[in-house]
């Protein structure tokens, strides 16, 4: 008699690429030039088909800088073509490296992305103005829950527990934050409650995934449904009738940091945000440092890569996993506070809207590394914000395709087109002590 749970993912647990059909490694070096080539070709075709004349204004300054940076005004057509040429040069470099069997360094795709984006923006925003500060600053703000969620995901998976329940942790975090902040009148209490709620979801995940060896992906998905049902139910039965006492939290407001916030460009981007964002900076730095530079981090990674070896040297595998996912859940839960304390200042049904899944995408796209996952989450936040900016200036690209972008990029990433992602070796495999 086989249980329902041992049907999927028989021996390669978690989200590892299937070994049976995985092609040989090293194909990423060959794929990069192809991807770059396709992208630059796409941009060139777009430019050829509808050439916009006129100028594009890039506004770098915010109102209250020390020094006001001047607006950059460029002719949109020529600028876009210059960027196409730069992109072509970068693609050529990638091809050269491919032919010479050299490694593709990180700077090529990054420089390519920047040049491509400038070219694209100057074409899309011809005869209008792009507010760089609000474009990038909005991206940071939108990425906040994604970064929290992605960090939670990275931590859990480095310890060998796949966390599909990020969505549930965000949602329950948002729910708890709204109630706690409403009853106590302090958004900080809401943040703590959000962390506790996220850890609670993680505890249930751990109970089933670690103690009872239930397939982790299944537990995660079912937990998401459970939290969704629970919060919807409580919202309708309790929060909506008592909205004034339970669902009118005082949100976090913007808190500019005195000196740092006045630096041109960087200041308004990074240091005129809500306190939650500053908490985020601390969490990112702490997780990245702790995971690679402390004994605790070494243990977490050991447990995720080779639990048996870790056990042999005396690390308590399942206890380490429990502690790590509780911490991870707390971090992801804090991200939920963004929705009910920053974005809207009230809880609403299904208000996370699948952000947990984007965070999961950021984990994979960021190759299970806290810094890269943070950058990936920022990138996804940028894509979302770009869509909003472009649709407000009347861009010719349908907004739905912009919104699709993070998901498409992730599919390309897991398919090995944009660098191969390799999860921790024991990701998703429950550990049974012999």
């Amino acid at each position: 008699m086989s249980t329902a749970t041992d049907n999927p993912t028989p021996d390669s647990g978690g989200l590892a690429p299937d070994t049976v059909v995985t092609p040989t490694a090293g194909s990423g070096a060959r794929k990069l030039p192809v991807v770059l080539g396709v992208l630059v070709l796409g941009l060139a075709i777009v430019l050829l088909r509808s050439s916009h004349s006129g100028d594009t204004t890039f506004r770098l300054a915010a109102e209250t800088d020390f020094v006001t940076l001047p607006d950059v005004v460029v002719p949109s057509g020529p600028t876009a073509w210059v960027m196409v040429v730069i992109c072509l040069a970068l693609t050529a470099e990638a091809v050269r490296r491919m032919l010479g069997h050299l490694r593709q360094p990180m700077w090529i795709p990054i420089a390519f992305a920047v040049a491509w984006m400038i070219g694209f923006l100057s074409w899309a925003a011809a005869d209008s103005r792009i507010l760089i500060v609000s474009l990038l600053g909005g991206a940071v703000a939108l990425a906040v829950p994604l970064v929290f969620g992605a960090l939670g995901g990275v931590l859990g998976e480095r310890a060998g527990v796949v966390n599909i329940a990020i969505e549930g942790q965000l949602l329950l975090g948002a729910f708890a934050a709204a109630i706690a902040a409403s009853t106590t009148g302090s958004p900080w209490a809401g943040l703590v409650a959000a962390a506790v709620a996220g850890a609670l979801v993680a505890l249930v995940l751990g109970l089933f995934a670690i103690t009872y060896f239930v397939d982790q992906v299944i537990v995660g998905v079912v937990l998401n449904v459970l939290v969704l049902g629970l919060t919807n139910f409580m919202f309708r039965q309790v929060l909506a009738p008592n909205a004034e006492s339970l669902n009118s939290p005082e949100g976090f407001s913007r808190l500019p940091i005195p000196i740092l916030g006045d630096i041109p460009l960087i200041g308004p981007l990074l240091f005129r945000q809500t306190p939650l964002v500053y908490v985020l900076y601390a969490v990112v730095a702490l997780v990245a440092w702790a995971l690679y530079r402390t004994r605790w981090g070494l243990r977490v990674r050991a447990v995720g890569e080779h639990p048996k070896a870790a056990d042999t040297v005396g690390i308590k595998v399942n206890r380490t996993r429990y502690r790590t996912i509780l911490l991870a859940g707390a971090i992801a839960g804090m991200g939920g506070a963004y929705y009910s304390l920053v974005s809207v200042a009230a809880f609403n049904r299904e208000m996370t809207g699948g952000a947990g899944y984007i965070a999961l995408a950021a984990v994979i796209f960021g190759k299970w590394d806290p810094i890269r996952a943070t950058l990936a989450a920022l990138l996804f936040g940028f894509a979302t914000n770009l869509q909003g900016v472009l649709s407000s200036i009347g861009s010719p690209v349908p907004s739905q395709f912009m919104l699709m972008l993070p998901y498409l990029v992730t599919i390309l990433a897991v398919a090995g087109l944009v660098g191969r992602s390799r999860p921790p070796a024991a990701d998703g495999v429950p550990y049974r002590k012999q």
């Binding site: 008699m1 086989s2 249980t3 329902a4 749970t5 049907n7 999927p8 993912t9 028989p10 021996d11 989200l15 590892a16 690429p17 299937d18 070994t19 049976v20 059909v21 995985t22 092609p23 599909i164 109970l207 089933f208 103690t211 009872y212 239930v214 397939d215 992906v217 299944i218 537990v219 998905v221 079912v222 937990l223 449904v225 459970l226 969704l228 049902g229 629970l230 919807n232 139910f233 409580m234 309708r236 039965q237 309790v238 699948g354 899944y357 999961l360 995408a361 994979i364 349908p398 739905q400 395709f401 919104l403 699709m404 998901y407 498409l408 992730t410 599919i411 897991v414 398919a415 090995g416």
Partner: protein, 424 residues
């Protein structure tokens, strides 16, 4: 499936072992299939003896218990009477009983039999509603379940339903055809689009090893935005002159006919679901393809060693899964909500289907039963919300708790202090 799946010279082993009498792997497969009447009752006895079926019953009981606690805890009267429970406990307990029994009898009235009505036809109407809701759940559950059998986790039900529903809807109102052609064509187009959408995940897994969980989750969103975009284009799905993302209603020649007359909402979709159960059962337990699917699901390395093309099996099984979920989407667009394609046409069936498949243990008949149960929950949940003012979302909670508890029989045993199951 077609002749292609008959034993071919390339796969002599696969062909031989499907013969009903030989080969050691067949022992496993027969147990797996649990089709023969005798075999089934014997395994049922064994399950009860081992306490697994008991754990299942207790899992449902636990989930309903948690649901009851939630109903009681959010009920005004219960909370008021709890304030003076030491003074007058009878008030508290009668309020408790009233709120919980009220909720469950409302569910019964909404899902099976409404004893408050006089007309016998109307009294049984809730049962037909249950069947109506069960149809897409069964179809979706089959789609998720057949992928489970190949050890693939298809979380992409939502995307597959949306894309298929959009395509079927396009055929449903853009083309002008007689019903004999129109309806089958719309169904077929929907299934094909669902198959393509599911097939992407299978193909990527086969070719690059990309994990299907990630790909299908991402394809859900890509499908959503694709449908959203299609709903803004008049040559695709947009209603001319409307700003709402909703298509015009379906032509009557493309709507699934009502099977019990106009008085009841039950449409042909449920019959299609029953047919799909039979087809999938045959496919899994009697066809070469099904044998391959199960072999790959049990152990892909061994399957490859015995000459099965694992990658192709992944692709094919994901296409079948996608077409089944596509049929669930078609069922919505051409049957349940034929007033036009919209972005919520999936009605969370794509995710409910996962719980259906898990509860049904990925067996077609189990999925049929689980789909009927959850269909009843859904139908009853709406009545409960309307008459008792208890949110229908309670159903989601109970549903997911059942699956969680079922997935971990040792936990349920520990809660009820049953003896631990002996190691097998």
């Amino acid at each position: 499936m077609s002749d292609e799946d008959k034993p071919t010279p390339e796969h002599p082993e696969a062909g031989r072992t499907t013969a009903p009498d030989v080969g050691p792997p067949e022992v496993d497969a027969a147990e797996d299939a649990s089709v023969e009447e005798g075999e089934r009752s014997r395994s049922l006895l064994r399950e009860i003896a081992a306490g697994d079926a008991l754990a299942g019953v207790l899992a449902v009981f636990l989930a309903v218990l948690v649901g009851s606690v939630m109903i009681a805890a959010t009920d005004e009267t219960v909370r008021e009477t709890f304030g003076y429970v030491t003074a007058r406990p009878s008030d508290f307990f009668s309020a408790l009983w009233e709120s919980i029994s009220g909720a469950y009898t409302a569910m019964f009235r909404g899902a099976i039999f409404n004893y408050n009505l006089d007309d016998p036809a109307q009294q049984w109407r809730p049962l037909t509603e249950t069947l109506k809701f069960a149809g897409p759940l069964i179809l979706g559950g089959l789609g998720v379940g057949i992928a489970f059998r190949a050890a693939l986790f298809n979380i992409g039900g939502r995307g597959q339903m949306l894309v298929a529903g959009g395509a079927a809807g396009w055929v449903g109102f853009q083309l002008d055809l007689p019903m004999a052609v129109h309806l089958p064509l719309a169904i077929l187009v929907g299934m094909v689009f669902g198959a393509l959408w599911g097939g992407i995940a299978g193909l990527l897994k086969a070719r690059t090893g990309a994990h299907e969980v990630i790909v299908t989750i991402m394809l859900n969103y890509v499908g959503y935005y694709l449908l959203f975009w299609a709903l803004t284009k008049e040559w695709l799905l947009k209603t001319p002159g409307s700003v709402n993302p909703k298509s015009p209603p379906m032509d009557s020649s493309a709507v699934l006919p009502k099977v019990l007359g106009e008085k009841f909402n039950l449409h042909l979709g449920f019959v299609l679901a029953l047919v799909a159960v039979a087809v999938v059962w045959w496919l899994l337990n009697r066809s070469t393809l099904g044998y391959r699917v199960r072999a790959v699901g049990e152990n892909p390395h061994a399957a490859r060693a015995s000459g099965i093309n694992v990658g192709r099996t992944y692709t094919v099984v994901m296409m079948i899964a996608g077409s089944l979920l596509g049929l669930a989407g078609v069922n919505q667009v051409l049957g349940t909500v034929s007033s036009g394609v919209s972005l919520d046409l999936d009605a969370s069936i794509g995710f409910d289907a996962i719980t259906v498949a898990l509860l049904g243990r990925s067996r077609p008949l189990g999925i049929l039963a689980a789909g009927l149960l959850f269909g009843a929950f859904k139908a009853g949940g709406f009545t409960m919300q309307a008459s008792e003012n208890i949110s229908v979302d309670l159903v989601l909670v109970v549903q997911s708790l059942i699956v969680l508890f079922l997935a971990a029989p040792p936990l349920v045993r520990a809660i009820f202090r049953l003896p631990a199951q002996e190691a097998k």
